[in-house]
């Protein structure tokens, strides 16, 4: 086994025992990136020199036994998350030259714990997409099958972990952007409750739905990373004061007697793949054997969640991306006046899907349409949230497939925005309601594509979803 193939837990033990050094581990990841990135395109920027310098420092700390829990562990970050001194483009040319002067809070916490930044992951530009084809730096290919998409928007982060280019990665999930690519690439991806992890330094997409979370190879590793990055942040007033649970401990508890809800609406979605359905049902059976109570439940407003999502997100997007004017930073295109500088810079710096989202949002928020779209969507959001609040009185977690189908072909949905939006149908309801959810590898289709199992919990129920996730059969 190569060093870059280790889980965080295995690497921690090996580093602490002195079986290998942080420099060797980091070099193994860098070698893998060099070998595979030209094909997979999971990284936009690689910080080779700095990563090796950091690894040398980490080795000193490991030797002196003074490092944090992640000392010497190499990781990667979605390019829509700010990293001090390291270019952060959000996969859009408008930020091609943008070097943030600060770290996002999650990055600060990971660095304080000793983790080593390897580089920045390709993604759908500003998080807009479900296939990673909306990147201005080219699509990410799925390491399990290079003709397939890696999923999106955090596709590069999922692919990097799946292909052992790093030990873990940090992504951003607004409507499935961590869980769906995790499902397509066969890794674990956690979207925490809204407000659990700080969004400071994360380029905003839809501020009322955005969350930041980890991609790892095991649920155990996710529990560890989440326990490090979660918690209130004075730089993000939407973070909640709730105490962060001891997730690594919590996932080890017995699941006997836990109530697992099966929401029928998710299994009746049009176009759901039979193999995906079968694998999910087998995992439900497996949880039953382990002593969980399986309870059929209904979330009647499920079918409206995607429409709500695709009104709220473009609306908040169009507002958030108003700041991308290139007056102070970013790639400026000169025009004959200020207005032309805006319109040309934005025309050249945004890919088609970003423009589409901004246009939809501008339309939905414009005078005369606000009540029909944005307000209506927020009202239905209330009903969706109530659905979840009601159901979590009866069950501890919900189980569904992460995606109605496994990874699709590159180019297959690229010219049909609505078909692409429908890829988020299983994952977006939890976001609309602000619930935590994890995607865990649950099996493979006959053609060798991973299928993710989606576990949704009540707000601040990360421990419960990870505990069930840890019991999904590999």
């Amino acid at each position: 086994m190569q060093l870059n193939e280790l889980t965080i837990k295995e690497a921690r033990e090996g580093l602490d025992r002195g079986d290998f050094t942080a420099v060797e581990l980091t070099q193994a990841c860098l070698d893998r990136i060099k070998e595979r990135n030209p094909e997979i395109n999971a990284f936009i920027t690689v910080c080779e020199e700095q990563a090796l310098l950091d690894a040398k420092e980490a080795d000193k700390k490991i030797k002196a036994k003074i490092g944090g829990p992640l000392v010497g562990i190499p990781f990667a970050v979605k390019d829509a998350i700010c990293t001090k001194g390291v270019r952060s483009t959000a996969s859009a040319k408008i930020l091609d030259n943008y070097i943030p002067p600060y770290d996002a809070t999650v990055i600060t916490r990971l660095k304080e714990a000793g983790a080593i930044l390897l580089g920045k992951n390709n993604c759908d530009a500003f998080g807009h997409g479900a296939s990673n084809e909306n990147s201005m730096y080219g699509p990410v290919r799925n390491p399990r099958d290079l003709s397939k998409v890696a999923g999106g928007s955090s596709g590069g982060s999922a692919a990097a972990v799946a292909d052992n280019m790093c030990l873990f990665a940090i992504g951003e999930d607004t409507g499935g952007s961590i869980r769906q690519p995790a499902s397509f690439c066969g890794v674990v991806g956690l979207r925490p409750s809204y407000g659990r992890n700080s969004r400071y330094g994360v380029m905003p997409m839809a501020s009322s739905l955005d969350t930041v979370g980890p991609f790892t190879k095991t649920v155990e590793d996710t529990a560890l990373i989440e326990s490090i990055i979660a918690g209130q942040d004075k730089l993000d007033a939407t973070t909640v004061p709730d105490v962060v649970a001891d997730y690594p401990q919590e996932i080890l508890q017995d699941i006997e007697g836990m109530r697992v809800g099966v929401p029928k609406e998710y299994f009746e979605i049009e176009g759901i793949d039979e193999e995906v359905k079968k694998i999910t049902e087998e995992q439900i059976e497996n949880l039953k054997k382990k002593g969980c109570k399986i309870i059929d439940v209904s979330l009647p407003y499920t079918k409206y969640a995607l429409a709500v999502y695709y009104i709220l997100v473009p609306s908040e997007d169009s507002s958030n991306l108003g700041r991308m004017d290139t007056v102070r930073y970013g790639v400026q295109v000169k025009g004959k006046n200020l207005e032309e500088l805006y319109t040309l810079s934005r025309a050249q710096g945004f890919p088609e899907e970003v423009k589409r989202r901004i246009l939809i949002g501008t339309y939905a928020l414009s005078a005369g349409y606000y009540d029909a779209y944005y307000k209506k969507a927020q009202q239905v959001r209330t009903l969706i949230k109530r659905d979840f609040d009601e159901v979590f009185k009866k069950v501890d977690v919900l189980i569904t497939p992460t995606s109605p189908f496994p990874a699709f072909g590159i180019g297959e949905k690229a010219f049909d925005p609505l078909a692409m939006y429908l890829a988020d149908i299983m994952v977006s309801p939890a976001n609309v309601a602000g619930m935590p959810a994890v995607s865990v590898p649950g099996g493979m289709t006959a053609s060798g594509l991973p299928v993710g199992i989606h576990i949704i919990g009540p707000r601040m129920g990360e421990g419960a979803v990870l505990r069930i996730g840890n019991n999904i059969n590999k």
Binding site: A237, A307, E339, I358
Partner: protein, 100 residues
């Protein structure tokens, strides 16, 4: 079509994005399909339902206004779009040619 090319032109201007005629056509078509899909929400009776803007239940989060060290002057200067030494340039914000 739920949205016309003229409406696309209008919102593109509001959003400060220059579109080519081909883009205007494509966006009119694809946005119409998306807006048609949104019609599903008309099935839901929302009379008397409060809109949800946030899910945390938090409101009015205050903190002390504390002065902190912030040594990022050079970093900020380096990312500035246009500069001359320590002088940071911005495009003219008021000008006669502007259609505003």
């Amino acid at each position: 079509m739920a949205i016309s090319i003229e409406e696309v032109q209008k919102i593109a201007r509001l959003a400060r994005i220059k579109l080519t005629p081909e883009e205007e056509q494509r966006h009119a078509e694809t946005i119409s399909v998306v807006l048609d899909y949104m019609e599903i929400l008309n099935e839901v009776d929302t009379s008397g339902i409060e809109p949800t803007a946030r899910v945390t239940g938090l409101s009015n989060i205050y903190r002390e206004d504390v002065v902190e060290e912030c040594n990022i002057k050079d970093d900020l200067k380096n990312i500035w779009a246009e500069k001359d030494g320590d002088e940071l340039k911005v495009p003219a914000v008021f000008n006669e040619e502007s259609e505003e």
